[in-house]
């Protein structure tokens, strides 16, 4: 046996089982490699994370955050990282996730999330993926911020159809045209990945797409998803920003800010478990400004004057889902 082979055999376990990150925000029933998971447990490049009635956050490689919703199965399939390069592969067998990858200058990064129909490539991006366990329901891929590449496992797949934007799209995210203009320069310089060759429909004055012109893949067969765009099956839809944020925060709310020492002491002692607001978080968007907020109490009225002592009946005329 050559010295090289000997070293490979000797070092293989250290490489295979070296830590790539940590478990955090573990709530409810979550399994790591089949065993009950807890905060701080180390992730390796062969880790399997299964959430049942619970959820968790994976902190990987120092600048990637993956929030995993309940009833999901995720495998870390590949990892390599040093100061100049980072490669991360994950396989979302089923379930929902929200992933954020911080932008890193001067670092060659390849982060890929595989599902049963397509693989999403991200860098400096915030994305949402929903891959239902039922194989008849196609997975959904959505970009919240930044751009992502989507490559279908079946290369012969026909191009997606472009749907009309969702009705109340409020333009709080960049429009397709703006995104193209803003991103082209940075894409070319930072990502080195395939450019957006999608045949975008012309935008009206308000930046909303007009007409169902299907996007086309790049030479590498990848489609580019821009902010607020969702690909589900063959359908590409420009989503309403409010809905985008509601869906994203349904997987995990944003981390609570620490603005004072007593908040920091609380996080140190009890973690962030009780800090997020109950429910999927407040919707964003213009239509909620000057409106008292979604937790506005509904007014109550007396419909039947003597009905059992004149109990007031709440009337749902305000947005109060939670």
């Amino acid at each position: 046996m050559s010295l090289y082979k000997f070293l490979v055999v000797l070092l293989f376990p250290a490489v295979a089982f070296s830590s790539v990150g940590n478990m955090a925000g573990v709530k409810g029933t979550v399994l790591l490699n089949g065993k009950k998971a807890s905060n701080g447990m180390k992730l390796t490049k062969k880790s399997v994370i299964r959430t049942k009635k619970g959820s968790c956050t994976l902190l990987i490689g120092g600048d990637v955050v993956v929030h995993l919703s309940d009833n999901s199965l995720l495998k870390v399939s590949d990892y390599f990282g040093n100061k100049k390069k980072q490669r991360l592969g994950m396989n979302l067998k089923f379930g929902k996730m929200r992933a954020l990858a911080a932008k890193r200058k001067n670092k060659d990064r390849k982060i890929k999330i595989k599902t049963r129909t397509a693989t999403m490539g991200i860098r400096g991006t915030h994305v949402y993926i929903d891959s239902p366990r039922n194989p008849k329901i196609p997975p959904s891929f959505m970009t919240i911020e930044g751009v992502a590449e989507l490559k279908f496992n079946n290369p012969k797949k026909r191009p997606p159809r472009r749907n009309a934007p969702t009705e109340s799209f409020d333009n709080s995210g960049p429009s397709i045209q703006q995104a193209q203009g803003d991103q082209q320069g940075t894409d070319q310089q930072d990502s080195g990945g395939p450019q957006d060759t999608a045949d975008r429909a012309p935008a009206a004055d308000d930046g909303v797409l007009q007409g169902p012109i299907p996007p086309q893949p790049s030479e590498e067969g990848a489609f580019v998803l821009r902010p607020n765009e969702m690909m589900k099956g063959d359908d590409l839809t420009q989503m309403d920003r409010t809905e985008v944020m509601t869906m994203a925060h349904s997987v995990a709310p944003p981390p609570p800010a620490i603005h004072s020492d007593h908040v920091m002491n609380h996080v140190e002692e009890k973690g962030t478990e009780n800090m997020p607001q109950f429910g999927p978080g407040d919707p964003e968007g213009d239509q909620f400004e000057n409106a008292g907020g979604p937790h506005h109490e509904p007014p109550q009225f007396n419909f039947d004057p003597i009905l059992d002592g004149g109990d007031l009946v709440p009337v749902r005329v305000t947005f109060d889902p939670y």
């Binding site: 409010t242 800010a257 003597i306 002592g309």
Partner: protein, 436 residues
Amino acid sequence: MRLPLLLLVLILLTGPQSSFADENTDREVVQTYVNYHISQKQYDKAEKRVRDHLADDPNDGERWNLLGLILTKKGDYKGADEAYLTAVAASRGTDKGIYLYNYANSKNKNKRIEEAKRLLNEAKKFDPVEPSATAALSNIIEGEELPKFKLVGPPKWDVDFNTLSGYDTNVQLLARNTLDSIARSDTASPVVILSPSIQYKKDYYHGLLEGNATPSWTYYTNSQVSRFIAYDAAFYAKWTPDLDFEKFKWGLSGKFNITYLSHQFTFYNWNQYFTFESVYQHSARSRTVFNVPIRVQNFQQATSSADERTGFAFGFELSHQISSGKNLFSFGVDFNRAITNGSNFRSYTYNVPLSWSRTFRGFSTSLGLEGGNTWYTESATSRRDLLLNPTAAVVKRFKGGWSGGLNYAYTRNISSVSSASYEKHTIYLAVNYELI
């Protein structure tokens, strides 16, 4: 000489800049990591993470403040002072006031009380920080931590105007009772309700005080015997103590409601509620609500002492709420014991309320179902009622403070006393305009 300068200006104007979207992603990532490191008491790692981030995003005042807090925790007051100073310079408004307070805390811990006082006087200029800064100035002890910081929002007024228009298939002048003096209407009628609603919130005595007043005017338009107007006014106040980040939160509320009816007869009743309200938050997705209401009620009408409904009632309301994606499910049980002056209305009631709500393409939809039993254990007729009450609502909020909703409810009361059995449908369109 001019060309390089021009080139420099062009590069600065057109060069690659990280977009706001990328900043948001990067800031959320670093905050998630830092929260984790702090929860693991890894302050060195937290510091390194924030410093790496600030090297790329030097205008992030919130993270400069975070670095200051981490360094204060580590006892590096000099480093903390520099971080707070940068945070203050990079921020404005309330954030600036918060960072000034933290800066003062660091100075005071480092036994530089005069500088701390000067910073607190600066922090006082920001209204939400003013109460904490004033309290700190009057209690400051050199070398010790300043009192717990709390943001105090300004008092807030909300004024709404509501209009409801709909149809009631069976306007209940009397329901679930056997009073003889007033016949049940059994009359279908279009109904119009007009109502302003005034709400007020204010930080008060280590907590939050909320109040609202909702007077309403209801016009039942049906002809002949049943055209009448009901006036109603509800006043509600609630106080909840500051229980930041605690799993168990509670509050005390009081509600007063008075109804006056003008018809061929006049009638009024009033109710007064005192309620202990509490919530136990298991996680961001599930919580249990437990309320203990006590009600005192007064009824003007009674034909006999046995039918006297004036009295009081008490009980509990227990429900569990689960948030899953855009859905919210709620189920629970209510129990109520009514002790009235007249024996015919002394009762035990339990209800099982279920509800589901969901946001869908900007609409808030909800379905509810409530079923329950009431036993009038001392009534002359041994009355027992079974109530079924499904409801549905869809609400849309529009720009400019407008919202509108369509509501439907079916009520079926099956009583062992036939005159107390009834059923009704109500459907109405509600429009709300938020004036303030």
